[in-house]
């Protein structure tokens, strides 16, 4: 009979092997699903995994999506490591998008003619502020009233969605937009990385953010304090590390990063505010953070993988007529498999004879 036995020490091998095995399980199940749906599994997986990598345009689109996911996931990784369960990155993403979109709209209406390069830092700042302010609601209610951050941050996702919807259907609607729920098209955009492709300088910001976050997490005392709080709350209290400071640092940081991601999405590829500025980046980023082992560099790799899934889902819809929702299904299976495989980090499977 198979039995799980606790390991004396966490296995470093399985910490990194687990996502690979989980990906293998996900792909195997996906292939089965394709067969069940009467599609050729080889062709299905090819469209899902390889097509998103086919050509320069495809790769720049991957980089675009990975930028948004990485930025959101970086903050979440910090939160989850510190045992702060912020699952409202989607709301913070939208809040950042609203802030930067509002700014861009105002600058457009004022006919300022601001250059893309001058607008770039402004959009970044607006997004960071919007996201951080939105996250600070969760932090304040947890800090002052002990209200559960999971539920509060999640409720605020719905509120942010409705707020965006109110703005684009109401006061921010483009008067010349034939009554479509959208703002004016912005005159400026954050600068593009390559002309002719939608990928923008935000990708560089994301890479810088990864390095900064890695330094913060593994090379600063503050970063260490946060993680002690996450792994051993009692030890952290005994050492006099402030749980309040952890809460605020994590939420403000992750809110700001998610907000920047939202700002770039709105003022980059989209170029206006609409009710559909997010394709669920904030939620997908939760999976990214776990698959990326809550490590900044891992988050980049996981973002690329999950972006492949996102684009693969769209391709599966246009090429072989499967619903784009396939992506969500695969994401869910991936996270499930990952959590199951993670058991092997702290446990080993032993074959035990029946007594």
């Amino acid at each position: 009979m198979l039995q799980l036995e606790a390991r004396a020490e966490a296995s470093a091998f399985w910490r990194y092997a687990s996502p690979v095995v989980a990906l293998g399980i996900t792909l195997a199940l996906s292939a089965l699903l394709f067969v069940a749906l009467g599609k050729d599994p080889v062709r299905g997986l090819q469209i899902f995994l390889l097509e998103p990598w086919n050509g320069t345009r495809a790769i720049t689109e991957l980089a675009l999506k990975s930028t948004a996911l990485t930025l959101c996931a970086l903050g979440l990784a910090l939160c989850f490591r510190s045992n702060v369960w912020n699952i409202g990155a989607e709301g913070q993403f939208l809040a950042g998008g609203i802030a930067a979109g509002g700014l861009a709209m105002w600058l457009t209406m004022q006919k300022t003619g601001i250059s893309n390069w001058a607008f770039f830092p402004l959009a970044t700042l607006a997004g960071a502020l919007g996201g951080a302010i939105w996250a600070s609601i969760t932090a304040a209610l947890k800090d002052r009233f002990n209200a559960n951050e999971i539920l509060v941050s999640l409720m605020l996702v719905y509120v942010a969605n409705l707020l965006l919807s109110y703005l684009v259907f109401g006061p921010w609607k483009d008067p010349k937009g034939f009554n479509f729920p959208q703002t004016v098209t912005f005159d400026m955009a954050i600068p593009r990385l390559l002309s002719g492709f939608r990928v923008h300088w935000g990708a560089v910001v994301a890479v810088v953010a990864v390095v900064m976050m890695w330094v913060f997490m593994s090379r600063t005392f503050k970063g260490y304090q946060l993680q002690v709080g996450g792994q051993a709350a009692a030890a952290s209290r005994y050492a006099g590390f402030s749980a309040r400071s952890t809460l605020w640092t994590c939420l403000l940081t992750s809110g700001a990063f998610a907000g920047i991601a939202g700002a770039y999405e709105v003022t980059g590829p989209i170029g206006q505010l609409t009710p559909f500025v997010s394709v669920g980046y904030g939620f997908t980023a939760i999976i990214v953070a776990f698959v990326g082992r809550l490590h900044p560099v891992g988050c980049v790799a996981a973002s690329v993988l999950l972006s492949t899934f996102l684009i693969g889902g769209q391709l599966a819809q246009s090429r072989i007529g499967l619903p784009a929702a396939l992506t969500g299904l695969f994401q869910g299976i991936l996270l499930f498999s990952l959590l199951a495989c993670d058991t092997l980090i702290n446990h080993r499977i032993r074959l035990k004879a029946k007594p």
Partner: protein
């Protein structure tokens, strides 16, 4: 007068799925397991229930299928958190994300479909009473069943021996284990029962309340149900009242709009979510109150023989 009766009726109806899911989560949490997957389980059950109703034409079959779907998805969650000791929060989130994806995927072919033969329901005799009849006694049977569930669950946990054993599993699994109770199996059983109730809640929305399938139609009710268990300090009767209160908040927006109050509809739609936050703040600001009522092992893994 008539409007008020209709408002009360609508409140009961919109509170019912919240109550069903909340009661399911209450059973989970009483044995120490917190399942953040409620939203996902409700979505899965909603689409399964709708599909079953669409193909069989029978609401009973729909509810049975939805309960089974809820129990199965909860079973998967349970197997992971109870035997593999995965993090309960992360695994619950996985259920929610998976449920969103699965239901959207399966639901594509049911978008825009309608269920035929919506029947009117009325309790014999009582349903014909003026005012009281339309207000209280013309509901789908599931509404009354939910009230019975609340009563039964409350009595079960507080007045029966088995209920006491289950509470001990939630309060102190090590002691329950030492006394020889199969802690893991009992937890799994309760998790699956909770999933089945969440499933009924999901199906109520897609088969009775809406009745249609739309992607993401649970719209946060699973999460609100989670907040309800805290609000109710893990008591079934209080949870039922809380669910109706939230149902009332949902209906309030319609009533206010009907009365010509000029507030943008989006702000009205925010009400249930804002109310959830307010309620959480009010109830959590007294940590003692939570600590006294919360099952002590809530969210913590249990390793037998350690």
């Amino acid at each position: 007068m008539n409007e008020i009766a209709l408002l009360i009726a609508a409140t009961l109806s919109s509170g019912t799925p919240l109550a069903l899911a909340g009661l399911g989560l209450l059973i989970n949490e009483k044995v120490g397991v917190v399942n953040l997957g409620a939203e996902g389980m409700m979505l899965i059950a909603a689409v399964v229930g709708f599909a079953a109703a669409f193909h069989s034409g029978s609401p009973t079959v729909a509810f049975a299928a939805a309960a089974a779907a809820g129990a199965l998805s909860a079973g998967l969650f349970g197997a992971l958190v109870i035997w593999l000791n995965t993090n309960q929060y992360a695994t619950g989130l996985a259920v929610s994300l998976f449920g969103g994806g699965f239901s959207a995927f399966v639901g594509v072919e049911y978008i825009g479909k309608t269920l035929e033969g919506r029947s009117m329901h009325s309790v014999p005799l009582l349903g014909d009473l003026p005012f009281v009849g339309p207000a209280l006694f013309q509901q789908h049977p599931m509404v009354y069943l939910t009230m019975l569930f609340a009563l039964a669950i409350g009595l079960f946990f507080n007045r029966t021996r088995t209920g006491l054993v289950l509470r001990s599993v939630g309060e102190n699994p090590e002691s329950a284990h030492a006394l020889g109770y199969p802690v893991r199996w009992l937890r799994l059983l309760c998790v699956m029962a909770g999933g089945a109730l969440c499933g009924l809640g999901g199906a109520y929305i897609s088969v009775v309340y809406a009745p249609l399938w739309a992607e993401g139609m649970i719209a946060g009710r699973g999460w609100i149900a989670l907040a309800l268990t805290v609000f109710a300090t893990w008591r079934a009767a209080r949870l039922l009242l809380g669910a109706y209160l939230f149902g009332g908040v949902t209906m309030l927006q319609l009533a206010l709009q009907g009365a010509g109050v000029d507030v943008p509809s989006q702000f009205m739609s925010m009400l249930p979510y804002l109310a959830t936050i307010v309620v959480l703040v009010l109830i959590s600001s007294n940590p003692q109150w939570i600590r006294l009522n919360m099952p002590s092992s809530l969210g913590k893994p249990f390793y037998p023989g350690r």
